[in-house]
Symmetry: C2
Subunit: 302 residues, 2 copies
């Protein structure tokens, strides 16, 4: 089954386009999971693994997908990489779609090795990829889309310096609008029954006007919208990033959910001991926030 169709079905089943980013930082973990303030690399990896597994268990009934970012695991060496693989496996067992946030991008023969790593070995559902090296760097991933896989290409990222290259003016638009045209074109071969492609785009929620413009330029492209919550993106400003019926977008929150226990109002209500309850409450709040912003959505009220 086509990835975009699987994604739309999962969003409608769970009743929300929320995706939880799993970006653990050791120093921010609840004390019960830590091995003191100066852990070995293996101890730190073990702690973030336990945290990630329990996060998955809490959010599995509430969201269609998780997005573990591999950088936060690689910082603990191979022990961290193993923790990542184990969290991915748990998420899949729990019926979640897994978007591996890896932002890989290399020439074709190397891209094939990354595709083996992420799609064949870990069996994730989708990956984030850089488009900078062009189509031949993406083909090894596209070649696995007939197995239900998908990707999200970095079109316009959520960080301030995304302007350095992405916003340069060109051909009456910008570099990122040119890339949007390529992403739409590359996606034409992978459109599912619901009219969306398995070639998605990362579009920073921190730039809502650009997200709305990109929605018009890429009508068949699923958007992954990072930057909601801790990075400042607001639900109502994202309304125009959705397609008809509120389809075609995933809104990501990472720190705002996984470390909710350290932020108000959750810190006062739950505190560190009840960090999983804080995760649940923050996820429910995000669900309500998005449902309010996109009231006509096919997934609303599920």
């Amino acid at each position: 089954m086509n990835f975009a169709d699987r994604l739309t079905a999962a969003i409608e089943e769970k009743g929300t386009p929320s995706i939880v980013g799993i970006d653990p930082r050791y120093v921010m973990l609840p004390a019960e999971l830590k091995h003191g303030d100066t852990p070995t690399r293996a101890e730190a990896a073990s702690a973030v693994e336990a945290f990630g597994i329990r996060l998955v268990d809490v959010v599995a009934p509430l969201v269609p997908a998780v997005k573990p970012n591999i950088a936060f695991f690689e910082q603990f060496g191979w022990e961290g990489y193993r923790a990542y693989m184990n969290i991915v496996a748990r998420a899949r067992e729990k019926g979640l779609l897994v978007v591996a946030d890896a932002k890989r991008g290399d020439i074709g023969s190397t891209a094939e090795a990354y595709a083996v790593s992420l799609f064949d070995e870990m069996d994730v559902d989708a990956v984030t990829l850089s488009p900078w090296l062009g189509e031949d760097s993406l083909k090894p991933f596209f070649a696995r889309f007939d197995r239900g896989k998908g990707c999200f290409l970095l079109v316009k990222t959520s960080n301030p310096s995304s302007a350095d290259i992405q916003d340069r003016e060109q051909d009456g638009g910008t570099v990122f609008t040119s890339v949007a045209g390529l992403v739409r074109k590359w996606g034409d071969d992978f459109i599912g029954e619901r009219g969306l492609s398995s070639v998605g785009a990362v579009v920073g929620a921190t730039f809502p006007e650009q997200a709305a413009d990109l929605r018009e330029r890429m009508p068949t492209t699923p958007f992954l919208l990072p930057g909601y919550g801790a990075q400042g993106g607001k639900a109502e400003s994202l309304r125009n990033a959705f397609g008809p019926g509120g389809t075609g977008a995933l809104v990501n929150s990472s720190r705002g959910i996984i470390f909710a226990f350290a932020r108000e109002p959750y810190a006062a209500e739950f505190g560190e001991d009840r960090w999983e309850d804080a995760v649940r409450a923050a996820t429910l709040a995000m669900r309500a926030d998005l449902a309010g912003a996109v009231p006509d959505a096919t997934w609303a009220g599920a």
Copy 2:
């Protein structure tokens, strides 16, 4: 000591700007290292680790640096990631500079995690990075340059589809010439005693005219030139990618060296049993080829 100064010193000490890319493919390994045709992931990782360690030992006296590409290890999961770390450690023990070919590129907080992984945990000397997300995605790496670290940013890659985005016309140049201007500017803060910056550029050896143009645009930028050998790049066509005295460039060969035993003239002379002798012979041939192409180099005759 500044990375660019360390690099120039290593090139002059070894008498060549050759860098060996360690991109192992299990199916191509010498039979003595394989665990049959259907290895477990752990067996495959063990085989590529043994291959990489022995490669490092063979080339350590002959070249200043190695460039292991992490994708080829990640395809064997965490066992492969561990193999990568062990090969990096061996290369450092043998006095080689290590360029981690990882092509990472993410927003600032995530880039910090990648910098921890590569510079703090593995302690590699330099990394390849994507510039697509702009300066704030690079700053966590730059922040470690006072410890002698460096990077090579993907300005113009060696693959055919690099034209898709990099070659688009813009501002009287192309996107990649704009990026070259940024790379030069970012590098200004990190120029060493020999006049070169610790912010380098990846420039495909498969596009010699563009490499010569980029040398003029980035006079203080060390170039990492992939594509020599198996990808078709010729030594003489690279002459203009070097700076005065043949400084400021590393020429990479991967398959042409590491799997030399499977190619003529080495296959006939050495065969698979003497694969290490084939690696040595291919490395010496590359050294001679580059010395002939850049006869006035400061490193020639060392």
